[in-house]
């Protein structure tokens, strides 16, 4: 019961838009990309196979091979720091090379093959949300 109440409270807290994280002084840095680089008004889902999973500080990254026209494109996806996504259910074993997943994300504005994760969907329907996603339920 307590857990449930807390989960509800946290979900409410996390509903906040990342766009409100305005001040650079208070915004945690992104290892490779600023949030400015992601098209936060676009939501795209791609299906693919996990190539690599780095559950590391400062931010979790994973790489997915996405079929395109008989070939494969490699995409990189950024989630939040391990300690923050851990509280959304992520673990060091959440993704393994070879896993089939769908990634729903905000793509890069410049069209390069990377995105800011909103959530990951497994074939069995399980969903892992990134921490602080603006679309989080």
């Amino acid at each position: 019961m307590k857990r449930h109440r807390y989960a509800h409270a946290l979900r409410r807290l996390l509903l906040t838009s990342v766009l409100t994280v305005g001040s650079a002084a208070s915004a945690p840095a992104f290892a490779h990309h600023s949030f400015n680089m992601f098209a936060l008004d676009q939501v795209v889902t791609v299906d693919g196979t996990v190539k690599d999973y780095d559950f590391k500080m400062p931010h979790v990254w994973f790489y997915v091979l996405v079929p395109k026209g008989g070939a494969q494109e490699e995409w990189g996806f950024e989630a939040h720091s391990p300690n923050l996504v851990a509280r959304k259910g992520w673990t060091v074993n959440s993704l393994k090379p070879g896993d089939k997943i769908a990634v729903t994300m905000h793509p890069m504005k410049d069209g390069s093959k990377a995105g800011s994760v909103i959530y990951v969907t497994y074939p069995n329907g399980k969903v892992l949300w990134n921490a602080q996603s603006i679309n989080e339920p």
Binding site: K2, R12, L13, P28, M57, S81, N83
Partner: protein
């Protein structure tokens, strides 16, 4: 004079003593707490000096400036910023002190120590990231006074912090024990035109919540690519790095 009021007075005294005793028992604020960052403190009453620095910072951000040098170097964020991260804080109490530990990158921040047995601030404080905090319980409210800051961090709202900064806090617990409020008043005459009071809310997490590691790793790649002169007007650490009079050079001589 009648003797009758005496037993009444004794009886009343006993009742008041019990009631007073109950009221004086400090609320238990120990545990893991999640800051509610959905309403970040905004609109600080800044001085023209602070406004100019914040404006430069904002303009640079619009042109792609993302990270402060202090962030790349994994320096602490200090008080009060360490209170408002998206990761939990843990409040612990031991003899004569309350400690607050954080869990975030960048940092790692030092723990905050609030000394409960020091009635006044010492006069020989070495300026530090978290300053020197003394506190006492005023009935159900923990009153904390913090001075002795260095000038390498910021107050809330992106306002630069000087060594003259003075922060007072009133911590109170909701009746159900599930919400902790930190009513924080920041003063810093060079940067704030007047006292700035904000109300920070924290939601209690389950007692068995894990505290996780969040270690900052030095971003050498970003530091090597950084043009320090281009950002030194509004980036505190870049200014230190480029100004010999500030004696930036840890380990030198």
């Amino acid at each position: 004079m009648s003797l009758r009021p005496l037993p009444l007075a004794i009886g009343l005294g006993v009742v008041l003593a019990f009631a007073g005793g109950a009221a004086r028992a400090a609320p238990d604020i120990t545990g893991m707490w999640q800051y509610d960052y959905s309403h970040p403190p905004a609109h600080p009453p800044v001085t023209p000096k602070a406004a100019a620095i914040i404006a430069l910072h904002r303009a640079a951000t619009e042109k792609g400036y993302v990270r402060e040098l202090s962030n790349m170097k994994c320096l602490p964020t200090g008080m009060p910023q360490l209170m408002v991260w998206r990761s939990p804080i843990e409040i612990m109490e031991s003899f004569g002190r309350i400690s607050i530990i954080t869990e975030h990158d960048p940092g790692p921040d030092e723990p905050r120590t609030i000394y409960l047995n020091e009635p006044v601030q010492p006069n020989d404080i070495d300026p530090s990231w978290n300053g020197h905090s003394i506190g006492h319980w005023d009935h159900d409210v923990l009153v904390v006074d913090t001075v002795g800051f260095n000038d390498r961090a910021r107050l809330l709202g992106g306002v630069p912090r000087t060594e003259a900064a003075h922060i007072t806090e009133r911590f109170s617990l909701s009746a159900d024990g599930q919400t902790l409020t930190d009513e924080m008043t920041m003063q810093d005459p060079q940067m704030l035109a007047g006292p700035w009071t904000v109300s920070l809310k924290f939601a209690r997490m389950p007692n068995d919540s894990e505290r996780l590691e969040a270690v900052c790793e030095l971003d050498l790649d970003a530091i090597q690519k950084l043009d320090i002169n281009a950002i030194k007007a509004f980036d505190i650490e870049a200014q230190r790095t480029s100004d010999p009079s500030l004696r930036y050079n840890p380990g030198g001589k």
